[in-house]
Amino acid sequence: MFRLSETPIDAVELARELAHTRAGACVTFEGWVRDHNEGRAVLRLGYQAYVPLALAEGERILAEARAKFVVVEAACVHRVGTLEIGELAVWVGVSAAHRGAAFDACRYVIDEVKRRVPIWKNEHYADGESGWLHPDNTPVE
């Protein structure tokens, strides 16, 4: 399940859906809005998404994770819109019988989401500027 959310992500509710009596391991990743990037003070973020392609690409990544690793459940939710410092921007959760697969699949999903899903982060800086970022967190232009 890959979703985009315009409202705060409920990590507790999401984690509950990963539980299964076959699952012995659960790994979650949470990406939070940091107060700095590349040495600049950040006030808040805005995320834009090309929604239909983001949903399709996100589901494709989860399907790849399920094919590559022996997992029970795998899910990801990404925020869009305006986020304040400390807010949850992206959540990935994977349950599996064994911890190796849970770690590897969780890492795979967040790495691929950041690399491939058409979502763009616009950082608003304390100096009044703002800018769109590359996957490596450097400015686009």
Partner: protein, 79 residues
């Protein structure tokens, strides 16, 4: 032919619009981007972009059809 073009991130900022209907003789995304880059003054070259046609990633050379939705995808930065 008429295409619907959506803009995101720095392309949206530069164009000043989210989307537009474009009347063009370009038969593929490469030709269409060349036209639109000249019109809007986009800084990003083709080598920095990916293309999506009707909601799916596509090649720059895929033939376009009347009414297609075309999106030029700047480097993504989710997460």
């Amino acid at each position: 032919m008429k295409y619907r073009v959506l803009y995101f991130a720095s392309l949206r900022d530069r164009a000043g619009i989210d989307a537009e209907q474009v009347e063009s003789r370009a038969g593929d995304a490469r030709g269409l981007y060349t036209e639109l880059r000249a019109r809007h003054g986009f800084a990003l070259g083709e080598d920095r972009l990916r293309v999506a046609i009707n909601g799916a990633f596509a090649s720059w050379e895929q033939p376009l059809h009347d009414g297609d939705e075309v999106v030029f995808i700047p480097p993504v930065s989710g997460g």
